[in-house]
Amino acid sequence: MNLYPIRAIYMAEMARTRRTLLQSIVSPVISTSLYFVVFGAAIGSRISEIEGVSYGAFIVPGLIMLMLLTQSVSNASFGIFFPKFSGSIYEILSAPISYLEIVVGYVGAAASKSIILGLIILATSGFFVPLEIAHPVWMLTFLVLTAITFSLLGFIIGIWADGFDKLQLVPLLVITPLTFLGGSFYSIDMLPPFWQTVTLANPVVYLVSGFRWSFYGISDVSLGASVAMILLFLVGCLATIGWIFRTGYRLKP
């Protein structure tokens, strides 16, 4: 593996973040703060503790996960879509680099941005609620694995999309609803039994649950199920990307 091309892609993508700091970092932090104000303070004051955790603190892992998923997908999809859109993808495809190096460069940068953002949101939440992280290593593991997996998904979306509208399609119509309905703001135990069963078909439930467990030691599903789900997702994304590069789907005629 040649590190220079990976470094070139990674640094160029991180430089894009620095150029668009307001959009990349400040905007998600403000959105999250608003969630805390609305859900944590206004609505949360009317909700009693959930499994011994105050509502404001309960939603912290869900909020971080919401931002992590949407930002990972959006960063990675835009990263690979923009060269396609501008035509400068010719340089990537004609360079003496392997598909793995391309993926590591783009996905690594997108995941790094999301992880930094996740940590900033975590720090921001400290201003609103008392923070407690029961299993910090697991917390970081979930953070990193989720960022990588959804950056891979974003990379796939960026290659698939042939216009800016499609780029927004999956984050807006799939990721955000699944996250909202995946227990970010509530415990699935609060749902009627039928909807509890239906909710288990939502993969985001497993991510939020596992991540919340790393904070407070409480979860809707077992830790093993959460880890298995994220690894399944990871393998699925890697297999899809492997297929894309093998066939040249939407990259090479």
Binding site: Y4, A8, M11, A12, S86, G87, S94, P96, P253
Partner: protein, 311 residues
């Protein structure tokens, strides 16, 4: 000279819709030459370049770059190639320096500010190194593309329509840059619509039409082989018609009767039917002339004839 740097064997490319862009292309590019690939729109020039550079997948056939197969040894093959695409494709918000340095890293080379500086200076981009690409003129953007292609010190440079949309002065500057590269041992393959460009620059010329290589020839040999000349004689007295002794297929009389136009090539002179024979006939018929001039057909004439012939 027989030192091939690119060898293309039996290359076919059929797109998904069934359009065959390349058909059984066999072509050899010699090390250190400037090779011009000519062809009308849609002839397959860009597709051929795309396949060699890894931007398109061949349906079948093989490409070898400096001895390395472009598919099985793509790293070694591609690191030898620099590509300047036809479209002005740039990251608008990047600076000249950053985008050229990015290209070097992308091609697996360690940072070398000295080399980037040399490339930018050679292309008169040094003063613009901190400018964002969006602020540059079209000609400057094209230079940036050349700088990006040269950033990793390639041995082969593909220039796909390098001077399209560039003004005459800049075009001449670019020709100088390309000649300088060739002098430094870089092999240049250029596609162009400007026949004048190929005539000015190329050592050898290939003509592609409908995905097939129609001919490959040294420029001088091509001009000699397929080019024709015209001799125009301005007469003292007009003729109403050509005398029977001058009734040749190759000789014409203008409508006003004041000019005789003789079309010939090298073969006729060798066979004894050339200019000397014509002048002797004129003297014999008592036809005198006050002036004469000759014109040699350009590469453009040859190209148009070739493409028309094959259509």
């Amino acid at each position: 000279m027989n030192d091939p740097i690119i060898t293309i064997n039996g290359l076919n490319k059929t797109y998904e819709g069934g359009f065959q862009a390349l058909s059984r292309v066999d072509l050899t590019i010699q090390r250190g030459e400037i090779f011009a690939l000519l062809g009308p729109n849609g002839a397959g020039k860009t597709t051929l370049i795309s396949v060699v550079c890894g931007l398109a997948t061949p349906t079948d056939g093989h490409v070898t770059v400096d001895g390395f197969d472009s598919v099985t040894h793509y790293r070694q093959a591609r690191e030898r190639i620099g590509l300047v695409p036809q479209e002005l494709t740039n990251e608008a918000f990047e600076t000249v320096w950053n985008t050229v340095s990015f290209s070097r890293g992308l091609f697996g080379k360690p940072p070398n500010p000295g080399h980037i500086e040399k490339v930018l200076k050679s292309l008169a981009l040094w003063d613009k190194r901190n400018n964002r690409l969006m602020t540059l003129s079209g000609g400057m953007k094209r230079r940036v593309l050349i700088a990006k292609a040269l950033s990793h010190e390639p041995r082969i440079l593909f220039l796909d329509e390098p001077t399209a949309g560039v003004d005459v002065e800049l075009r001449r500057d670019m020709w100088e840059v390309v000649r300088g590269l060739r002098d430094n041992g870089v092999t240049i393959i250029l596609t162009t619509h400007y026949i004048e460009e190929a005539e000015e620059m190329a050592d050898r010329i290939g003509v592609i039409n409908r995905g097939e290589i129609v001919l490959v020839e040294g420029k001088a040999a091509l001009m000699k082989k397929l080019g024709s000349k015209q001799l125009t004689l301005q007469l003292h007295e007009p003729l109403t018609e050509l005398p029977p002794a001058l009734a040749l297929d190759t000789l014409g009389l203008t409508a006003d009767g004041y000019e005789l136009v003789y079309t010939y090539d090298g073969h006729q002179e060798e066979e004894g039917h050339g200019i000397s024979a014509l002048l002797a006939l004129l003297e014999q018929e008592g036809i005198s002339f006050k002036d004469l001039h000759t014109r040699q057909s350009s590469l453009e004439d040859i190209f148009v004839d070739l493409v028309k012939e094959r259509s």
